[in-house]
Symmetry: C2
């Protein structure tokens, strides 16, 4: 049996984590041979609920779950952490401007970044989920210079999975036959779900749908799916978000399937003309715990323009918070 790894999770008493933690502890994220120690962070008023989550985790008798730590102290939660799932963020309140939301969450992630820089395993792999996820990841990165910037990522796998579903529904095909879906850009409504390079049972997806559907229906449908789920469910996606996190980390750590890729928001190296250093969603392949951006894809002017719009939004979000990484 392998040595246990430490998985730090923020926002741990919330709905996403109520789905997420049990799947991690059952081996769904890091494999059936990888013991884990869960290090759970919450704000002080949520600690009582978090203790109840811990009771239920214990009541599962998971063979892989070696310990559960509950704390409101980030330096305890991230101590020696090998993985960091940054689920917690301040939600947008009534009458709140987007810039205020950016700044409030920016402060949270700059503080967390500094703590992580001091106490975590310097090779810690991070997935930021709390919104605005890409910019929160950027701010965290800028405040944690000891970490490898390649290890600070943001979640677009939920968007990726939603895109796979929409295409399967449209073409009446099996989701397992759909490969090489791509989400470009920011995890926001400017994201660019792109089927230009996608295959369905080996055939080009673009030959099976109208261009007008791909450009005018598919893209907004995927980008606004979160709002659609809220409308139906009365609260935001939780189990599907948790599943996106599981898939993101599993692909990163255990590798992508041969001939396929996944979408992850990662530290841009300038590929496809996107500003270097932004946390931007690309198609990536993963092997041996590292990701590689898929290069050489030929994009239409339509897609390129949308990719640049999403880049511009990320630049603006960053500039709104520039005091947090002076």
């Amino acid at each position: 049996m392998k040595q246990p790894v430490r998985v730090a999770v923020t926002g741990a008493a919330g709905q996403i984590c109520y789905s997420l933690l049990f799947r991690i502890a059952s081996g769904g994220m890091l494999g059936n041979d990888q013991p884990v120690i869960l290090q759970l962070l919450e704000i002080t008023p949520a600690l009582k609920v978090l203790e109840a989550v811990k009771m239920e985790l214990n009541d599962c008798a998971f063979p892989l779950l070696h310990d559960v730590v509950c704390t409101d102290d980030a330096s305890v939660a991230f101590k020696g952490a090998d993985y960091g799932l940054m689920v917690g963020a301040k939600p947008r309140g009534p009458g709140m401007e987007r810039a205020d939301l950016l700044k409030d969450n920016g402060k949270i992630f700059s503080t967390l970044g500094k703590v992580i820089n001091d106490v975590a395993n310097p090779d810690m792999k991070i997935c930021v989920v709390g919104n605005p996820a890409n910019t929160n990841a950027y701010i965290l990165m800028k405040n944690a210079p000891n970490l490898n910037p390649r290890n600070i990522t943001a979640l677009t796998r939920l968007d990726h999975n939603r895109a796979v579903y929409q295409l399967s529904e449209k073409t009446n095909s099996s989701m397992s036959d759909i490969k090489r879906m791509t989400i470009w850009g920011n995890h926001s409504t400017t994201q660019v779900p792109d089927i230009s390079h996608t295959t369905i049972a080996g055939d080009a997806a673009i030959d099976k749908v109208d261009t007008s559907w791909a450009n005018e229906e598919f893209i907004p449908k995927v980008a606004k799916r979160g709002a659609e789920v809220i409308g139906a469910r009365g609260s935001s996606s939780a189990a599907s978000a948790a599943n996106g996190i599981i898939d993101h980390m599993r692909s990163w750590v255990l590798g992508t399937n041969e001939g396929d890729w996944v979408s992850m928001a990662v530290h841009s190296d300038g590929s496809y003309g996107i500003e270097e250093g932004l946390i931007y969603s690309y198609p990536v392949t993963c092997k041996n715990g590292d990701w590689t951006i898929v290069t050489g894809l030929d994009n239409s002017d339509f897609i390129v323009n949308k990719m640049k719009e999403s880049e511009k939004e990320l630049q603006e979000e960053r500039d709104t918070c520039s005091d947090l990484f002076a």
Copy 2:
């Protein structure tokens, strides 16, 4: 790849199922090579929430999930079903007597039994979760004569897992080192968590704790753990109950580990002097999709008396509902 199997689930829009369905669809219950079709039953007012659950299931792009059916018609939900997870039940309302609860749920399970008898796969494997689980399973069995009574079981695996945790906590040992835990009887406060035959890393558990702890603290702690979780969480166990269902079905279908056993409430064959035909929790081993009661265990008078008390409760519950299987 295997042919998909049909998994019918009742109470599908509730909290337990919000944890359960995603773990089934990810392969956690029946294995990573077994595609599934989820056939989800709810009462009519809950169908809108159930549709939102389906949206999120689709948004996970699970390769093993071939279809999701949402319905308020039991004959649709159980049509050709290979597995049945009976999670839904009427909860006890304010001022409601236990006998009324028994009768109300008895009616639900007698109706379901008749439908299942007509439309399900006759080899369907059933796990009843909704309380009173053992008696609901008994009533279902009596109304579904086409089914093999060995395939109608009730959940005591959550109690089993809770017992493993309590023993590990008491002895400061790893849960994966604890084998041969037993829950006897009814899934109620008369249940008998029993460490008489349990081992910890190969050593007898009873040599590591006081008899007074095992008899006076451990048993009520496990039996009343559900109430303790409600107190801490503000609502009843959901994710840990879902995990118990996953473990119950996984052990039954994929087998128990060599040298270990699990607890399942199954059709009594008279073993240990318990009335034949009652749905009673025993230690069982599983192989090739079938269970076998562990026989020949030598029980103390203390345990035997408690086992008989739990049997008596089950007999009384049955007699309260005898009009439902005349």
